[in-house]
């Protein structure tokens, strides 16, 4: 599907606003300023090559959230172990956990962060597009190089041909979270509602 310049301009403005809302939410957890570095404001992707679009790094956490309702798609946040450790320090300063408890707490924390910052962007999209949209319960996946990821499978199955992505950066904490979205033509429908 080709998008007009008007559709692309409108989409990029809403994407920027939405990702800024996510950054603001993340700053509650980091207790620092969080900037949005937008790497890709909107691209039509080649679905035959989708595996290469989903970043793969062993021992990193990928939290994906499926969008439910009027807007269909999937988003994911990519946390390295360094990101997780920094966030744990920020939230649980001065608390000590044994290894099992630390892993359990880390997973609970990153899932909740993903839930909140994804919903912050989703709420902006919903308000602008006059849509009702939910995010499903976040799903944690430790990506393995040898297997096709859950996200890649979802993108193919649901024909999510639009991609936008950014990095949420706290320079003070040396935190860099990749935040990636794949959406289907319901996103274009939302842009058209916005323009009409």
């Amino acid at each position: 599907m080709l998008l007009s310049d008007e559709q692309i301009n409108s989409a990029q403005k809403v994407i920027e606003l939405s990702l800024n809302a996510s950054a603001k939410s993340l700053s509650y957890f980091t207790k620092t300023a969080v900037d949005v570095v937008i790497e890709n404001k909107l691209t039509v992707i080649n679905l035959s090559n989708v595996e290469n679009l989903v970043e793969k790094e062993v021992s990193s956490y990928v939290i994906s959230t499926e969008l439910i309702g009027d807007l269909q798609g999937i988003s994911y946040l990519h946390f390295t172990q360094n990101d997780v450790d920094k966030l744990m320090d920020s939230i649980y300063a001065n608390k000590e956990f044994d290894e099992d408890k630390y892993v359990k707490k880390s997973e609970g924390l990153v899932k909740e962060i993903a839930n909140i910052i994804t919903a912050a962007a989703m709420s902006q999209f919903a308000n602008h597009f006059r849509y009702t949209t939910y995010g499903d319960v976040p799903r944690l996946e430790i990506i393995k190089n040898e297997s096709k990821s859950y996200v890649a499978n979802y993108i193919e199955r649901h024909n999510c041909f639009l991609d936008f992505r950014a990095t949420l950066v706290s320079s003070e904490m040396n935190l860099n979270l990749d935040f990636v979205w794949f959406v289907d033509d319901s996103f274009v429908g939302g842009i058209d509602r916005l323009n009409n």
Binding site: S25, K104, E112, N115, T118, S123, T132, D136, V137
Partner: protein
């Protein structure tokens, strides 16, 4: 006597955060639930003064739970919907489901306490 609260949230992080915050203010946490069905059972059994209710749970939506508890079962517990979704349309309509307040995440412990105190 302490006021009682039930926490319904699928996030272990949020259950712990709300529990610690309200206990520090003297609330008696009578239970926590990670899904809607367990939450409804606990709410009907204990009829707490307050229910903090997540909106997206693995088995049902928080607004459905509120409707069951307040509209169908007629319990008098006050409900604070706690959700990461801040859509205008949802916030505008929360009272229709018997929800007393809609609190959008993220928030600080002070903000939670202030909003809870406003209900009592």
């Amino acid at each position: 006597m302490s006021k009682t609260v039930l926490i319904i949230d699928d996030s272990s992080f949020m259950r712990e955060f709300i529990e610690e915050t309200l206990e520090s203010e003297g609330w008696d946490v009578i239970g926590t639930a990670a899904d809607g069905n367990s939450g409804v059972e606990l709410a009907l059994e204990h009829q707490p003064d307050l229910i903090t209710l997540d909106n997206v749970l693995p088995d049902m939506l928080g607004i459905e739970i509120a409707k069951i508890l307040k509209k169908e079962e007629g319990i008098t517990s006050k409900i604070i919907m706690i959700s990461a979704l801040g859509q205008d349309e949802m916030i505008k309509n929360y009272e229709d489901y018997g929800i007393e307040y809609y609190l959008v995440k993220p928030f600080t412990s002070e903000e939670l306490i202030e909003n809870v105190n406003n209900l009592f």
